[in-house]
């Protein structure tokens, strides 16, 4: 019975013109790429803009070809009330409440394991704990300090621009404007040098 119905199904499948399944395969793959692009465009277009101060990094880690690694003032944070609480994963997702200081640069206020309500101009940004979720006897508790990654740490720059950015970053002149979606997901929108835009991320 099962074999018969399978054979009937296979026969129907064989009757479909060959262009259809191959076309569908190409369509699915292109749709997935378009969704990926659309997702990023939505964050860049609709996300709340937050300005973040970049930090000095070990120069050996900074430049990988045309790929620049950035670190922020909000990357290393005290765990606060999360200390000694179960992390739930090796690299757990956390939400960081940000608020702007007098200069308009966003600073971290608190770290949470769940999304919490924020009032404007506060912004909630989602990150992943890269280090600091391995304390306690079993190595599954939050430590007192957390290293958090926001998916804003990588930036592809035009060839030859990396060294210049490295110098500016070391002088703390380099800042990043990130777009943060209501879900907390963020994307780099603009690079600022001395408060002036130098690179603007186009949608396409």
């Amino acid at each position: 019975m099962t074999e018969t119905s399978a054979a009937a199904l296979a026969e129907r499948w064989r009757r479909i013109p060959k262009a259809v399944p191959f076309g569908a395969a190409a369509l699915i793959q292109l749709t997935l790429l378009a969704l990926m692009v659309g997702d990023r465009i939505q964050i860049l277009r609709d996300g709340t803009e937050v300005t973040l101060q970049t930090q000095l990094l070990d120069p050996r880690d900074f430049l990988r070809g045309d790929y620049v690694t950035l670190d922020y003032d909000i990357s290393q944070l005290p765990a606060g009330p999360l200390k000694d609480r179960p992390a739930g994963a090796r690299d757990p997702i956390v939400f960081v409440k940000l608020a702007p200081n007098r200069d308009g640069i966003y600073q971290a206020i608190s770290v949470h394991t769940e999304a919490v309500a924020v009032k404007s101009p506060e912004v909630l940004i989602r990150g992943r704990v890269a280090s600091g979720a391995n304390c306690g006897p079993k190595g599954d508790l939050f430590c007192d300090k957390l290293l958090i990654r926001y998916d804003l740490e990588g930036y592809f720059v035009p060839e030859g621009e990396g060294k210049k950015l490295e110098q500016l970053r070391n002088e703390r002149k380099l800042m990043v404007v990130a777009a943060v979606a209501p879900t907390g997901r963020a994307a780099i929108k603009r690079l600022l040098v001395d408060g002036k835009p130098v690179y603007d991320e186009p949608w396409f």
Binding site: K18, A26, M36, R40, P137, K138, L152, G154
Partner: protein, 423 residues
């Protein structure tokens, strides 16, 4: 490829049987008429055309790469999108002409270009942080393409990307396997069953091994050998159960799975012996033998004995015994549960018995991979006993001599008890 070799052997046998009078010309014609036509395989013109196509593709890629930095983002994206469309267009054209190998190749190229597209979008939007997410997307797109186009190459791409995705995600789960990969793997297994394809079944079986090894290595557990033994047990037991199913396609896939399971079990047996000396201290509270892993191992043994009950085959039951013995050896003698007093003679004996059972099960069931795996396991266990750097070599030589004498005595007893085949 294998089908062509089989047909050549069959034709030679048929000619011999006809000449010997075993079958009549009518029987010969009847047998030939039941065979489906061979698909046009890879002949020399096809090989030359593949090389030509690859050279043109390489020239195009080099040309694009030379001007990549000067191209606008949208142009780069358009080139890759066009690559996907053109590759699948060629694939459809070859499929319509019955050139299944070339169609498969083009669909595979399409899936590889899809991966390049994901990398490009990641670069465009600075998404370097979520490499695993990109791999999942690549695996999903390639798996969808494989399901729609019957492409084994796209399935290979999907499984490779899927294993990398899972390997990166496994690290994040404390003491648990990355279960989403299991669902992904089952879908791939379903495709292999639907296609009745040996190549696909090999790919699916192969994909389970790096996943299980990574799972064992990434877990916060002491007994890596134990978790590996459980995986090998499940693969062998699952393969035996599938091979006992009433459907031919399930039996074919099961035979392939059990072959991979048998080789895995043999390697694990040697590993258990080699690591039974590692008196490693683990922090308090660290699980040595996770419950889920134990459940997988026990399930593997149950499946093997279930298959033996269904098929009434002693060989399959012996494979179940081999699984059980390897599991017992791994459960008792992997750190930190192992006894630290003296040489683990019993685990040596248990693992040797397990591999002997595997060889015997292969002989009784006519399963050559199990026989070879069993012999490799015996060689591996003896090598591990002999070459482990701790303990007294003299005592081990005495142990091996006793084990050899027991085996010879057992052979003599079996020779008297079992009916002889010689006339």
């Amino acid at each position: 490829m294998f089908e062509r070799a089989y047909r050549q052997r069959l034709e030679a046998d048929l000619a011999r049987w006809e000449a010997d009078g075993v079958i009549t010309p009518t029987d010969l014609a009847g047998i030939r008429s039941t065979l489906p036509p061979l698909s046009p395989g890879v002949n020399i013109p096809v090989v030359v055309s593949i090389v030509g196509g690859l050279l043109i593709a390489a020239a195009f890629l080099a040309f694009v790469a030379a001007h990549w930095a000067e191209l606008a983002r949208l142009s780069r994206f358009a080139i890759l999108a066009a690559g996907i469309v053109v590759a699948n267009g060629f694939a459809a054209s070859f499929a319509r002409a019955g050139r299944t190998v070339l169609a498969d190749l083009c669909a595979t190229v399409g899936s590889i270009i899809f991966g390049a597209g994901i990398a490009l979008v990641g670069q465009m939007y600075n998404l370097g942080g979520d490499f695993a997410g990109g791999m999942l997307l690549w695996a999903s797109g390639a798996l969808a393409a494989a399901a729609l186009t019957d492409s084994r190459g796209a399935l290979a791409v999907a499984l490779t990307a899927g294993v990398i995705w899972s390997t990166m995600r496994i690290y994040d789960a404390h003491d648990l396997p990355h279960l989403p990969f299991v669902a992904f793997w089952l879908i791939a297994g379903g495709l292999a069953l639907t296609w009745k394809s040996r190549v696909a079944a090999h790919l699916v079986a192969l994909a389970s091994i790096p996943w299980w090894i990574t799972t064992a290595l990434q877990l916060d557990v002491g007994g890596v050998s134990f978790v590996l033994a459980d995986g090998a047990a499940l693969l062998l037991g699952g393969g035996l159960a599938l091979a006992a199913a009433p459907w031919q396609r399930a039996r074919d896939a099961g035979a392939i799975l059990e072959a991979y399971g048998a080789f895995s079990l043999a390697i694990v047996a040697a590993l258990v012996v080699a690591t039974s000396h590692d008196f490693v201290e683990f922090p308090a509270g660290v699980a040595s033998h996770p419950v889920w892993a134990s459940a997988c191992g026990v399930a593997g043994a149950i499946l093997a004995f279930g298959a033996a009950a269904m098929t009434r085959r002693v060989g399959t039951a012996l494979a179940g015994v081999a699984i059980g013995l390897v599991l017992i050896g791994a459960a008792v003698w992997t750190p930190p549960a192992q006894s630290q007093a003296g040489e683990p003679w019993l685990v040596y004996a248990i693992e040797l018995c397990a591999m002997l059972c595997l060889v015997a099960s292969g002989i009784l069931d006519g399963a050559r991979p199990r026989i070879i795996a069993g012999w490799i396991g015996i060689a591996g266990v003896i090598a591990s006993i002999t070459w482990a750097v701790q303990g007294s070599l003299l005592r081990r030589s005495a142990f091996l001599a006793v084990a050899g004498a027991v085996a010879v005595a057992l052979a003599a007893v079996l020779n008297r008890l079992l009916p002889r085949n010689d006339k």
